[in-house]
Amino acid sequence: MSLPLFFQQVLNGLAIGSVYAMFAIGYTLIFSILRIINFAHAAIFTLGAYFTYALTGSAFGYNGLLKNSALPIHLPFLLAAVVGALLAGVVSIVIERLAFRPLRERGADPLLSLVSSLGVAVVIVNVIQYLVGAENYSYPAHPYGNLPTAINFGLGTRRIPVRTVQIVIFGVAVVIMLLLTYWLNRTKTGKALRAIAEDATTASLLGINTDRLILLTFFLSGMIGGLSGALIGSSVSIAGPYFGISFGLRGLAVIVLGGLGDIPGAIVGGVVLGLAEAFVPAQYIAYKDAVAFAVLFLMLLLRPQGLLGGAQLQKV
């Protein structure tokens, strides 16, 4: 493998890896507080992409209940993505109220919350399909205004182009990770959240409003999920209502790589998975979709606590 090709693959890996990382942050945020995997996150991600598409004023296609309809407003892509993310956050709050909170209040088995979040995911994905059909949607051309579509990282004749969208995604993922880490470790709200993660009952006895903070967590996770949906949609187009689920299943591999509930770990896991997929040899390219799951498997065998994690104590 020549050196430019190597760098090209590394940059490609970083780009797709940051997509996975952003996805996994949303999972991880909720897992770190509630110790449950929110399968509905994949659906929220898809919703964010579709909300953004609708807010840019683009029309929906030929199938589904809403065929040939469009919103009367035409927001520029970035504004639409932000509003779409807020809406996704609101949906996430609704999901927590309807599908998680009743179970939590009853002290139900965590497996049940997982099942109900799966149910929510199935409902959302299929409602999208019912409303707007299963076809591919692309955002209006030039979502990022006058930025060039690709930036050259090579020198002279050796060109190493990277798409601007991917740099944007990478940047947003890093910024979100830094903000979240600061927020969780340095602010009072963040400390309260970590207290809830440690022991929800004690935290509420100490005067922490657990329900409100959990709602806030769901809102943030939903917002990040919705935003990543819009950004990734602008990179590869929205490939139907199941668009989020395939990322969601890979996101599971990422959070296992990073250690469940570890935010910096989610970023590292995403990047590692992205690089691993970029370096699949050409003759085995058909197996590329299996890489994430093979990695998941290896991690379960070798380091279930994640790449960065230390040995874990089993709480009774």
Binding site: L112, A292, F297
Partner: protein
């Protein structure tokens, strides 16, 4: 009656197969382990049947027989044109052994760990299997395998295999719940730590429960492949796993009757809804929803079921409690 069976023969068989798939997911759940591996083993069983019946013992149209050759030598010959039931049973055995080996290999690393690791490992297994079968020539690539021979003249003929199998597996699980191993499973489900303290080998029992479910799903796959007549990588998906999970959790996850009833009823539900959708005068949006909204309805049932009926509709003392209700005098007690 004959017309009814001719029309709905394949549906009736498929309902019973769905009940068994639900049982296959119920078995690991009996030991408290949530697994979505059943579609994977189901797909594996189907491929075993497809490969054996179309490649190992192919139909020779000149002599109207199924012939097993090794190199140039003819080893066995079965008269056609119907596929021999004895070979169907051989396929089931092969699928059982393969599923069991794979289940132990998959279950051992995942089940040493507590929590959701088995679920993650089984999702990974289903996805990997889907990718691999899409690529390999042996499994017909992305197109899959066609023209899988029929062992029976009509779809209802499959009942000769499916009914005994369903009764057998139901009886097996019924007995299992009442013997030592089954009690150990329930003990693990209720409290792992306490079960371990009682001397129950956690990993052994969890792997055992998981393997039993895998074998059952593999066997169902064999029958399905013949009944559907074609097999490809879209037969075992993550979505299918969620549907089976809905069968179990809505039907009931505390007694073997739950998944059986859940599988039969929920599998038939879309057909019933389609019938309702055909009633004239319904608003078109609602009719469309009833026709195509199978997964929306399953999803809603999963959410509502876990919140309002965490043990499912059929609970172990559903029938027993009636007797005591008349004598119970304490007010306000549920």
């Amino acid at each position: 009656m004959a017309v009814f069976f001719a029309t709905y023969g394949s549906l009736i068989v498929a309902m019973m197969l769905a009940a068994m798939l639900a049982l296959s997911l119920y078995l690991p759940l009996l030991a408290g382990q949530l697994s979505l591996a059943s579609p994977g083993f189901y797909a594996l069983g189907g491929y075993v049947a497809a490969i054996i019946s179309t490649r190992v013992v192919p139909f020779d149209s000149a002599t109207q027989a199924y012939v097993w050759r090794l190199g140039a030598h003819e080893i066995l010959r079965f008269p056609g044109p119907l596929y021999p039931v004895s070979l169907l049973i051989v396929e089931m055995l092969v699928a059982s052994v393969l599923s069991a080996v794979l289940a132990v290999a998959l279950g051992l690393p995942a089940l040493r760990l507590r929590g959701i690791y088995l679920l993650l490992a089984t999702i990974a297994f289903v996805e990997i299997l889907q990718v691999v079968t899409q690529v390999l020539d042996l499994t017909g690539g992305a197109i899959g395998i066609f023209n899988i021979p029929q062992p029976f003249a009509s779809q209802l003929g499959y009942a000769w295999v499916v009914v005994p199998l369903l009764v057998l597996s139901a009886f097996f699980v019924y007995r299992l719940e009442r013997i030592r191993v089954g009690r150990a499973f329930t003990a693990i489900r209720e409290d792992e730590l306490a079960a371990a303290a009682m001397g129950i080998n956690l990993t052994y029992h969890k792997v055992l429960a998981f393997t039993m479910g895998a074998v059952l799903a593999g066997i169902v796959g064999v029958i399905s492949a013949h009944s559907i007549n074609t097999w490809n990588s879209r037969q075992g998906t993550f979505d299918a796993g969620i549907a089976y999970l809905a069968f179990v959790l809505i039907g009931g996850s505390r007694t073997f009757l739950g998944p059986i009833v859940g599988g039969i009823v929920l599998y038939a539900l879309p057909e019933v809804l389609r019938g309702i959708a055909a009633i004239p005068g319904l608003p078109p949006a609602l009719a469309q929803l009833l026709k195509d909204g199978r997964l929306i309805i399953y999803g809603l049932l999963l959410v509502l079921g876990t919140i309002f009926f965490p043990q499912g509709l059929i609970r172990p003392n559903l029938f027993r409690r009636r007797k005591f209700e008349a004598t119970r005098q304490v007010p306000g007690q549920v």
